[in-house]
């Protein structure tokens, strides 16, 4: 009897172990970081949710969600509110630093038509480099003080660089480097993590509720949201960068914002840009 019990117990243990081992690869596969599959699922989600919206129109944010707003925006584009900033950016971009060099010396193709490649993962540094960060590093490398990341000069420079890239499809690469995959995954985690007293994540507004109103605002879809940056916002009465958008989103949900260009913000921009690959650059944009 004892022997029979022992055999039964041993068989049960082996069966349990086999089940555990069989289940392990499934769990591992489920947890595997797969940006290609993520981007495909992300884009499909928005196409299915808004079957009437043309794919390339998602970059127009709330205007793609609401016909009345779309018409108003088309009229506004006759005399766009970001124009003054664009002109300022163009002038700043060509004006030499004190050492005689210009921004063009810091970027591939002289900085023209390259917005769609930012942010990128720098394998030497092991971190994500955004366009705003690259611009300030360019200034510092040439003996100039860095600009505020959130508005004015930085918005003007990025507005000009986006304008020269309009229509080019977002083209973010994730190199075969575990650090790049980790940065992408951390960005995704940040995007979906609820924070602040209101317990909102980025996805609460921009995945679960695009097209809905939050007070007077129509929420933009997350798909293509970074393609329109920087933006003129009537609410701000001025221009704002991607950094400004992230920090103000955090404040609005009663979370203490991180510092612009902290790793979390760089990673979430990397994630959002990657899943928007293929959509055209439309910046600078204008928003209510």
């Amino acid at each position: 009897m004892k022997l029979r019990s022992a055999i039964f117990l041993a068989s049960a243990t082996i069966a349990l172990a086999a089940l555990t081992l069989a289940g392990a690869p499934l769990l591992a596969a489920d947890d595997k970081i797969d940006p290609v599959a993520d981007a495909k699922a992300f884009q499909k989600f928005f196409r299915d949710k808004f079957p009437k919206v043309k794919f390339e129109d998602f970059v127009n944010g709330p205007y793609s969600m609401n016909e009345d707003l779309y018409r108003q925006w088309q009229e506004k584009e006759q005399f766009p509110p970001y124009e003054f900033s664009l002109e300022m950016g163009k002038e700043m971009f060509s004006k030499p630093f004190k050492n005689g060099k210009t921004y063009a010396d810091c970027f591939p193709n002289g900085g023209i038509g390259i917005r769609q490649n930012y942010p990128y993962f720098d394998e030497k540094e092991g971190k994500v480099i955004t366009l705003e960060l690259a611009l300030n590093r360019c200034r510092e490398a040439n003996g100039e003080p860095p600009y505020s990341y959130v508005k004015d000069e930085m918005a003007a420079l990025t507005a000009y660089m986006a304008f020269t890239s309009r229509g080019k499809p977002m083209d973010i690469k994730i190199p075969n480097d575990p650090r790049a995959l980790a940065a992408y995954e951390n960005g995704k985690e940040y995007f979906y993590t609820r924070r602040g007293q209101l317990n909102f994540s980025c996805a609460t507004c921009h995945v679960q509720s695009p097209g809905e109103r939050i007070r007077a605002e129509v929420l933009a879809p997350a798909l293509g949201i970074v393609n329109a940056m920087p933006i003129y916002r009537s609410e701000w009465s001025g221009m704002g960068t991607t950094s400004r958008r992230f920090t103000t989103c955090n404040s609005q949900i009663r979370a203490v914002p991180l510092s612009p260009q902290d790793d979390e913000y760089r990673n979430v921009e990397y994630y959002l840009s990657y899943v928007s690959n293929g959509l055209p650059i439309s910046g600078p944009g204008a928003r209510p």
Partner: protein, 105 residues
Amino acid sequence: MRNLMQKSALVLSLFAAGAVPALAAGSEDEFKAAYAAAEAANKEAGKLRNQWTTTANTLAAAKKAADAGDFDKATASAKEAEALAKASIFQATSEKTRWKDLEVR
């Protein structure tokens, strides 16, 4: 009985002699302890990169009330700030796995 009366008289005379601030000082101690606990919890939330603006605002309100000498109000605000900070810690901890529930797959 006589002893008790003597003690009561002593307490009354202490009040009359201005011993009330000594009781208020007790309230100040209570505020200091509550404020320190709230600050510690908020610091922990900071380590988790998940502080709430409302915690900071409530801590500031506690400090302001204490500076004005209203230690009851200050202590209440400090306790509220601690509760907010603890809620932000709970949120950050639970979201370590819960964020995946929202993910588009």
